[in-house]
């Protein structure tokens, strides 16, 4: 008899070299997380730029890529967001084949629940915008919510009863490590040097142009440098004298033990703060709230976890005797409008990709694709052009924070 987990696909026997850094590269990517690895892959694959190093201060994909709740969806309100996330979702749909790696992409749908009349209005607004943007989206009444996810408590005895929800059938989850290693292996195979335990300690800038990076393993010259450091972006950008509208916050998540299948989709609720899915082996994977204060400690406060559990049991009474096996924290870099910053910087040949907050994982292939284009051509890809740094000066924000209020 073989139990759950025995049917998960095996990893390949070979992933990457561990090269010594060369003295010079055409492109140096700072940060070996999902975004950095995807960017390197698309630089090589789409643009033929293979003299690339990805510098990672720890182990590859050990930051938010290893800590997120793996939700993938594209049902964002604003056209700009829908554009880049839907591009990502289309890439996700072909990624297993493209990378030849079993990333366990499961399009089990995502439900976003509504708990107040204003939630309903906002939800319908988002569904309607999604449909016109070519994003699959439906509005479900409570009965339909129950059909999609029978364990959701749709009774009126919840503090904030479920009044319905939006549903994106093409959304789902994937296995984060597999995604990272798939990109890493593919990039490595195309000649990209993945260099771990190599922390960038300085950026060399001459006459307004970047020329290389200082690292714990020596100086590395670079034609172009692309930052992809997520929660640590402020720290790295400061080396170039660039201030960013970013705040880094702790965000916690947790898993339960392996459980028989009970939860067929992904459920998210903002009003009753929950987002939860049941991963392939059977564990419940759940995100907690963001801590209000800045933090780089990859740890959050306990009352956030307690609050998360009370919210989870409001909506899923069946989870009562499940157990939390492990909690952990990541560092999310958040912008004032909860949308990312991807594009050029005031320093020539220095590029920026940050501010994804809680949306980074789902964007991985999409932003890798667009960021690679931006680095290769020196011009933003049309899909990341709206996410420029200067929007904070003009006021042309992409305000997912103010308007959509569904930020995970």
């Amino acid at each position: 008899m073989a139990g759950p987990g025995s049917d998960l696909p095996d990893h390949p026997d070979y992933l990457w070299r561990n090269p010594e850094p060369r003295r010079s590269y055409d492109v140096v990517i700072v940060g070996g997380g999902g975004h950095g690895l995807a960017t390197a892959y698309y630089l090589a694959k789409n643009h033929g730029i293979t003299n690339v190093a990805v510098l990672e201060r720890g182990w590859l994909a050990g930051g938010n890529m290893a800590r997120n709740t793996t939700i993938i969806r594209s049902n964002y309100l604003w056209d700009e967001s829908a554009g880049i996330y839907e591009h990502a979702l289309k890439l996700w749909e072909g990624l297993e084949e493209d990378l030849d790696y079993p990333i366990l992409f499961s399009q089990r749908g995502v439900l976003n629940l509504a708990h107040s009349l204003q939630d309903v209005r906002d939800s319908v607004r988002r569904v309607e915008a999604n449909r016109l943007n070519g994003v699959d989206a439906q509005w479900l009444d409570p009965q339909q919510v129950k059909e999609v996810c029978p364990i959701v408590n749709t009774s009126p005895d919840v503090r904030y009863p479920v009044l319905g929800g939006t549903y994106q059938p093409r959304a789902g989850i994937a296995k984060h490590d597999y995604v990272a290693w798939g990109f890493a292996r593919a990039a490595d195979a195309l000649g990209v040097d993945l260099i771990q335990h190599c922390e960038v300690t300085g950026l060399d800038i001459t006459d307004g142009k970047i020329t290389g990076v200082q690292t714990t393993r020596g100086r590395i010259a670079a034609g172009r440098v692309a930052l992809s450091a997520a929660g640590h972006t402020s720290v790295v950008a400061a080396m170039a004298g660039i201030d960013l509208p970013l705040q880094s916050h702790p965000l916690q998540a947790l898993v339960s033990e392996l459980l028989e299948p009970v939860h067929p989709t992904v459920v998210m609720s903002n009003a009753v703060h929950v987002y939860v899915s049941q991963a392939h082996k059977g564990e419940l994977v759940m995100g907690a709230g963001i801590d209000s204060y800045n933090g780089y400690g990859q740890r959050g406060a306990f009352h956030i976890i307690e609050r998360q559990m009370s919210a989870a049991l409001e909506l899923f009474p069946a989870f009562a005797r499940a157990h939390v096996l492990r909690t952990w924290g990541g560092i999310v870099d958040v912008t004032p409008d909860a949308s990312p910053i991807v594009g050029l910087t005031p320093v020539d040949d220095l590029y920026l990709n940050c501010g994804w907050g809680t949306g980074g994982f789902k964007a991985t292939p999409g932003v890798g694709w667009c960021y690679a284009h931006t680095i290769a051509t020196g011009e933003p890809h049309p899909l990341n052009a709206p996410f420029s740094l200067d929007r904070f000066t003009t006021g042309a924000l992409v305000d997912e924070h103010g308007a959509a209020a569904v930020a995970h």
């Binding site: 402020s234 720290v235 970013l246 705040q247 209000s292 800045n294 933090g295 904070f392």
Partner: protein, 92 residues
């Protein structure tokens, strides 16, 4: 769950407080005189250091007073607490 020393009430649980972000960011005395860039900096740009950070906290569930704290954003160690309007203390 940090233990935050409110200057008026003493040490209290983090959950009693409301966070206010970076301290010492004054509302500009003459916003009209600022360029768009300068105004954008006031609106949206705040320090985000890894390490000691001077920040604002409000004891919202109790005395409702704002005060400033220097906290290490890596360890959450509170290095100094001081009143609004006082300069950031020089730490050894």
């Amino acid at each position: 769950m940090m233990l935050i020393p409110c200057p008026w009430c003493g040490p209290r649980e983090e959950a009693e407080f409301h966070y206010g972000g970076q301290a010492h960011v004054a509302y500009p005395s003459d916003p009209a005189a600022l360029s768009d860039e300068e105004w954008a900096r006031f609106l949206f740009f705040r320090d985000n250091p890894k390490g000691p950070f001077a920040e604002r906290w409000n004891h919202s569930a109790s005395c409702r007073r704002w005060f400033n704290v220097v906290r290490d954003t890596v360890t959450n160690e509170i290095l100094a607490v001081y009143k609004v309007g006082a300069p950031r203390p020089v730490l050894a």
